[in-house]
Subunit: 254 residues, 2 copies
């Protein structure tokens, strides 16, 4: 088999330390093409650009890594990579490493995970990696072994159809990691708190913020794993059907 | 019980015909507060604004309907409504009526459905409505009976925890509707085709487009229902865990 072709993207943008870290960790596994947003695109979820044209710029080749930036969302980057930039379908898509958690409910807002979902939709084994540290200059050392172990396994095992992996890594020293746990998404939510300010014209404006609320402390959840120094892996799907509810609603007599 | 309080939003923006149609249909059921994006926000998915401040403008009161516009995404609108604008938690959230389909895979890109998901996250019965017609001046007549029937039922039955309803309505004459079917999300996808153009500086740019591919013609899917002149209802959840894959991956020996 030829060397694997690996597509890398992220949502923190082309210059993010997490992206550069991921490239370093992944390039030993195959030839790498990076197609990353030219500016931060955090919390863009699965957003796509229907009303503005997309552009991409070839930045450089460095060894077996080709770098492109794109003016779109993470999902735009992924679609453009598959359709325009890449010569063939990649063997693996990795997204991240995100600066900050994409565990539990964060997954639905995450651009990092949306890119991984997009890979899954195209039948490519796809993984989103996130470190529980928002700092622009976060220390990603704890990710090194974890990322390599999981990529090796996915290249060996392939991926279950219709899903991708949401990998979150706790902010601990590398020797404090207790292991890797396969989890379900915890039932958690954000309680919004808008920070109200007044601009120079006397008009109010608001910064979205919030308190994270975890309603689900069972040991099979990603939140439990992360709080206990485990790496969490949640297999994430794009079939959003709630099958139990489907049965209930069939009895509503609509 | 006091009159229900109903929150309305959409992703096509404050001036969309689909929104105005929905307001007309819903206002007989309760007091209505509209908080809609001040510009089109189609395909924004669950995106939220972390890096720009949000603003909202009270536009007018008309009978039992209060109108607000907001400079954010559909999910921003929803969060701002719950936290800042509304006096109390609404009894129902309705989103739409979207100009265009949100069936099958479209659900993951949809701003309309993201707003409904956000309502579900806050424990409010939530419904996204979409008509299979992109036209700005689409004829929404076929929606009238459907929207009222489903809202009546949801106000009566409540909603299953952790999910909201994705209602799609075929573009047919009102008397051609065969009924309402509770469905699962069809396994379908977009095959991208980027339309390449060259700007006045000789630089290429791309419009995202694509061909819709349905790989799943079984009769329990939303695509089947819609193709056969039924209204489709898919109960949509925000727990993205693939439980079958979780079991498989537990055996990978990570």
């Amino acid at each position: 088999m030829s060397r694997p072709l690996i597509l890398i993207t992220n949502d923190d943008g082309f210059f993010a330390k997490g992206l550069l870290t991921l490239i370093e960790l992944v390039k030993e596994f195959g030839d790498v093409v990076v197609v990353a947003p030219d500016k931060p695109q955090s919390a863009m979820s699965n957003a796509i650009s229907l009303n503005k044209p997309l552009r991409y710029v070839f930045q450089k080749n460095e060894g077996n890594v080709a770098y492109y930036s794109c003016n779109g969302t993470p999902v735009d980057c992924t679609k453009l990579a598959f359709n325009v930039i890449l010569d063939r379908k990649p063997d693996l898509l990795v997204s991240g490493i995100n600066h900050g958690s994409n565990s539990s409910i964060n997954v639905i807002y995450s651009g990092t995970m949306a890119a991984a979902m997009e890979g899954a939709l195209k039948g490519v084994p796809s993984i989103g990696f996130s470190l529980l540290d928002h700092d622009l200059d976060a220390n990603f050392d704890v990710c090194n072994g974890v990322v390599k172990t999981i990529i090796e396994k996915v290249l060996d095992k392939g991926m279950i159809k219709g899903c991708c992996l949401n990998v979150n890594i706790p902010k601990v020293d590398p020797d404090e990691i207790k292991g890797i746990r396969v989890c379900r998404q915890a039932n958690a939510n954000w309680e919004e708190e808008f920070n109200e300010r007044v601009d120079l014209s006397g008009v109010k404006y608001y910064w979205l913020t919030g308190k994270f609320k975890n309603y689900d402390n069972l040991e099979d959840t990603d939140e439990w794993a992360l709080a206990n120094s485990y790496v969490s892996i949640v297999p994430v799907q794009y079939d959003l059907t709630n099958y139990a509810a489907k049965q209930d609603i069939e009895n509503w007599g609509l």
